[in-house]
Symmetry: C2
Subunit: 156 residues, 2 copies
């Protein structure tokens, strides 16, 4: 009887506690964190562009790989969780450009998200080599996958 109660309690606690880390997060922090992820990816996109597209920076294999690694790791970090309830609108000074549709159009969001993650993973792979044309080509594909989401789900 005591064991049964203990097991039931454990199971209930497990259900209740799964996601507490996220539940603990304030909506304004979720907005800031997703924006931080995009901003940090943007910085690394700029590095790839400078080295492989604009040639305004010397090509550096390690720097290129590090930039692509950062983008891929952030892309794969489960940022969808940061679009939690309560993050649909500005919260005080914390502004969001997310359109209402990103919180409702699950299928459409999944489609752009999967394409983006695939492009980021491919970018990471291509960056392991030193074929600057392949890198530039994949950079453009990755950029398009970013834009596909911005066009559909981000306010101007």
């Amino acid at each position: 009887m005591l064991l049964k109660r203990t097991l039931l309690l454990s199971a209930t606690l497990a259900v209740l506690s799964s996601g507490i880390a996220l539940a603990d997060m304030k909506p304004e922090d979720a907005i800031k964190t997703r924006q931080a992820g995009y901003m940090f990816m943007g910085w690394n996109m700029a590095k790839i562009k400078a080295m492989a597209v604009d040639n305004s920076e010397d090509f550096d294999t390690k720097k290129m790989q590090a930039a692509a690694n950062a983008i891929a790791a952030i892309a794969n970090s489960g940022m969808g969780a940061l679009y939690m309830p309560g993050t649909e609108k500005d919260i005080g000074n914390v502004k969001t450009r997310a359109k209402a549709e990103i919180f409702t159009d699950k299928e459409g969001v999944k489609e752009v998200a999967v394409k983006f993650i695939q492009a980021a993973n491919e970018m990471q792979k291509v960056a392991q080599g030193d074929d600057v044309f392949a890198i530039a080509d994949q950079f453009k594909k990755l950029g398009s996958s970013c834009k596909a989401c911005h066009d559909k789900y981000r306010k101007e």
Copy 2:
């Protein structure tokens, strides 16, 4: 003669152009980007803590690896470049908690940076397995390496 001039021009352009991507960056954007990196790492540290230390979230191997990958990739992305001249002080609404010493104490900064990157790389390695105690142990070591820098170079 024409060839000589062209070669000289190319070399001069190469010297001038190396680092333009960074030179193009506004100091306020460099401050925001480094803060974005720390914030995004913090979110992923919280996920590892919830799964391996507090047990407030169910252990999930993929989520754990993704969190450790994000931290390691950001740690290895060359964030030192974001401490560029002009980023020592607040710029309008863009506040920085960086102490003056982080811009001058090169040896000391290198020491904490190397230890932090090593701890983040080890965290990434340990997260490939499912030894939750090893993960919790490495999480604490990684946290200490963050704190070592905060204590020395960040204003309260």
